[in-house]
C-alpha cells in the first residue's frame, strides 16, 4: 500500500504562445507533489509523463483501491527516487484527458468544447507550461528532470529550453526524434481514430458518441509495439483462447493474443480521449531538437549544461538502444557529464515501467548521488 496522493490544480489566465502558431489562454494544469521542498528549494524533481499517463505519478487516491500512480514502483518513500529526500512533481500535459485543459473542455473564447479545434501542442510547449507551473510553486532550479519515452523527450527538451534550471536530466527509453517507422505506427493509430464514423471530424462530443472502434485499434497497434516478440511468445505463444483445437473461423477470437489485445483496446477506449490521442502522437512526431541545426544533434545539444543519465532496454524496438546512444554520442561530443546504462531486459519498451533490479539500481544510485550533492 502506497501513500495518499492528492491532485491539485492551477489556472493560468495569460496566453501561452505555441510553437505551431497561436496560443492557449485560460488554461488549467493538474499536478501532484510528493515529499517536501527543502528550505533552499533545491531538491525538486520533475517527472514528465508519456502518452498514456498523467500527473498521478505515484501514491494512491484515498478510498480508491488499485489507484497507484503510473510510476509508483520508481517514486515514493525509500524508492529509487526517494520522496523522503526529494520533492517530486508530476504535471499533466496540455491536451491530455486527465485533468489539465484538453480538447474535451470549453474554449472560453468560443463558449464551445474545443474538440478538433484544440491547438496542436508540442513537447516544447509542454515544457514551457511546466516551467510556468514551477514558477508558481517557487521552484527556480530543478535537482533533476526525469522521464521515460515521450517523457524522456520532455526531460531532454528541458535541458535545451531552460539549461540553467536543470542540474540533472534522466532520460529513459527515449529518442532524439522518431524514425519513419515510428511515425508510421502513430499514423496507423491516428487513421483508425479519424476514420471511425463516430469521430465526426473531432467534434464527437456534440453528437454524444465516442469513436471507440478507432481508439481500440489505436491502442492495439500501440500495445504491440510496446512489447517484444519474446515476451509476447512467452506470455501467449500460439495458445488458443478455448480448447485445444482451432475452430477455423475468420472473425471469432481464436488465439489468446487476440483476446488480450481486444481487452486492452476495450479498456483504453473507455477512458482515453480520441483527440488527445491525436495530439500526443503528433507531439511525438514533431519532436526533433536537431532540426533547427541541420539535423546535427551535437550542435543541438551544445546548449545543454545538465548532467545526464540515459537508460535504454535491449529489447525495446520502439525506442531502441541505438537511439539513446545517439543522444549519448552528442553529449560526449559536447564534453558533457553523461552516464548510460543499457539494461538487458526482455520486456520491450514497456520495461521502463516495470520492476527490474538492475534498472532501479542504477536510477536509485544516480538519485542517491544527487541527494548527497544537495545534502538532502
Amino acid at each position: 500500500m502506497s501513500f495518499i496522493a492528492t491532485p491539485q490544480f492551477l489556472s493560468f489566465p495569460d496566453a501561452l504562445p505555441l510553437k505551431g502558431g497561436g496560443s492557449l489562454r485560460d488554461y488549467t494544469l493538474a499536478y501532484e507533489t510528493y515529499g517536501r521542498l527543502n528550505a533552499d528549494g533545491s531538491n525538486a524533481v520533475l517527472v514528465c509523463h508519456a502518452l498514456n499517463a498523467s500527473h498521478h505519478v505515484a501514491g494512491v487516491y484515498e478510498d480508491q483501491p488499485r489507484s497507484e500512480g503510473w510510476w509508483d514502483n520508481m517514486i515514493g518513500p525509500g524508492k529509487p527516487v526517494d520522496t523522503n529526500r526529494f520533492f517530486v512533481i508530476g504535471i499533466n500535459n496540455l491536451g491530455s484527458c486527465f485533468g489539465s485543459t484538453g480538447p474535451m473542455h470549453l474554449n472560453a473564447e468560443t463558449g464551445e468544447v474545443y474538440g478538433a479545434d484544440f491547438p496542436v501542442v508540442t513537447v516544447e510547449d509542454w515544457v514551457n507550461a511546466q516551467a510556468l507551473l514551477l514558477d508558481r510553486l517557487g521552484i527556480g532550479q530543478l535537482a533533476a528532470v526525469l522521464g521515460g519515452s515521450l517523457g524522456g523527450m520532455q526531460a531532454l527538451s528541458w535541458t535545451l529550453q531552460y539549461p540553467d534550471r536543470v542540474r540533472h536530466a534522466v532520460v529513459v527509453a527515449s529518442a532524439p526524434n522518431l524514425t519513419a517507422e515510428n511515425i508510421a505506427f502513430n499514423e496507423v493509430a491516428r487513421r483508425a481514430i479519424v476514420t471511425d464514423p463516430d469521430f465526426h471530424g473531432g467534434h464527437f462530443y456534440r453528437h454524444g458518441v465516442v469513436p471507440k472502434r478507432g481508439l481500440r485499434i489505436a491502442r492495439m497497434i500501440g500495445h504491440i509495439t510496446y512489447l517484444s516478440d519474446d515476451v509476447m511468445n512467452e506470455k501467449f505463444g500460439r495458445q488458443l483462447r478455448e480448447g485445444l483445437a482451432p475452430r477455423y473461423s475468420t472473425q471469432d477470437i481464436e488465439f489468446q493474443i487476440e483476446s488480450y489485445l481486444r481487452y486492452q483496446g476495450d479498456k483504453f477506449s473507455d477512458y482515453f480521449d480520441a483527440n488527445t490521442y491525436l495530439l500526443i502522437t503528433r507531439a511525438l512526431d514533431y519532436f526533433d531538437p536537431a532540426l533547427a541545426h541541420g539535423g546535427n544533434l551535437t550542435l543541438a545539444l551544445a546548449r545543454a549544461t545538465a548532467r545526464f543519465l540515459l537508460v535504454s532496454f535491449t529489447t525495446d524496438w520502439r525506442f531502441s538502444p541505438a537511439r539513446s546512444r545517439e543522444i549519448v554520442k552528442a553529449l560526449l561530443d559536447n564534453r558533457r557529464d553523461v552516464s548510460y546504462a543499457e539494461i538487458d531486459a526482455p520486456h520491450g519498451h514497456d520495461a521502463f515501467l516495470l520492476d527490474d533490479a538492475r534498472y532501479h539500481g542504477v536510477i536509485g544510485a544516480y538519485f542517491n548521488r544527487i541527494a548527497e550533492e544537495l545534502g538532502a
Partner: protein
Amino acid sequence: MSERTTMDAIARRVPHGARVLDLGCGDGSLLAYLQRERGCTGYGVEIDDANVLACVRRGVNVVQLNLEEGLAMFGDNAFDVVLQIDTLQHLRNTEVMLRETARVGKSGIVAFPNFAHWPNRLSVLRGRMPVTRRLPYQWYDTPNIRVGTFKDFEVLATRNRLRILDAFGLQNGREVRRLPNALAGTAVFHFEHD
C-alpha cells in the same frame, strides 16, 4: 591489478587535468582516483551491469558498451589519454581495439598480463599452462582469450606505427625496467599515434 601501487604506477603517467577514457573501467576506482587526485575528467566504458552500477554509485561517468563493437561513439583524438588496463586480453578484436584506442586518444596506456613472465615459462616448460596469482584461471575457463607477451606487444605496436613513449613491467607493485619480458607479470605500454 587493482592494487594501489599498480594504480599509482599508471596514474603517474596521466597528466593533471587530462581528459581520460578508461576502456573496461571495472568499478570505476581508477577513474575516481584520477578525478580526485589528478583533477582529470572523462568517462569509463563497461559492459558488466554490476560494474556500471558501481561507477554510478561512485559518481564516475560510465557508458555501457560492448568494446567488441568498437568505439564509433567517440571522435578522433577526443581524449588526452585512453586507458586499457587489463582489458586487451579479453577482446577478440585485439588489433582493431588497439587502433581504435590510438584513434580516440592523443595517447594510450595499455596494461596486460605478460605471459612470458618466468614462472609462466617454467610452467609451460613443465607441460602445463600457468595458474598464478596474476593468472588465476585454468586454461579451460580463462577469460584471457589473447595470450601475449611484452615483446609481442612491441611488435604489434610497431606494426601499427604507434610511437612507444615508455614501456616497462610491473611486478609486486614495482616498475621493472630490466628484462621486463622475463621478470614482470604485467606489461605496461604508453604510446601515441602519428
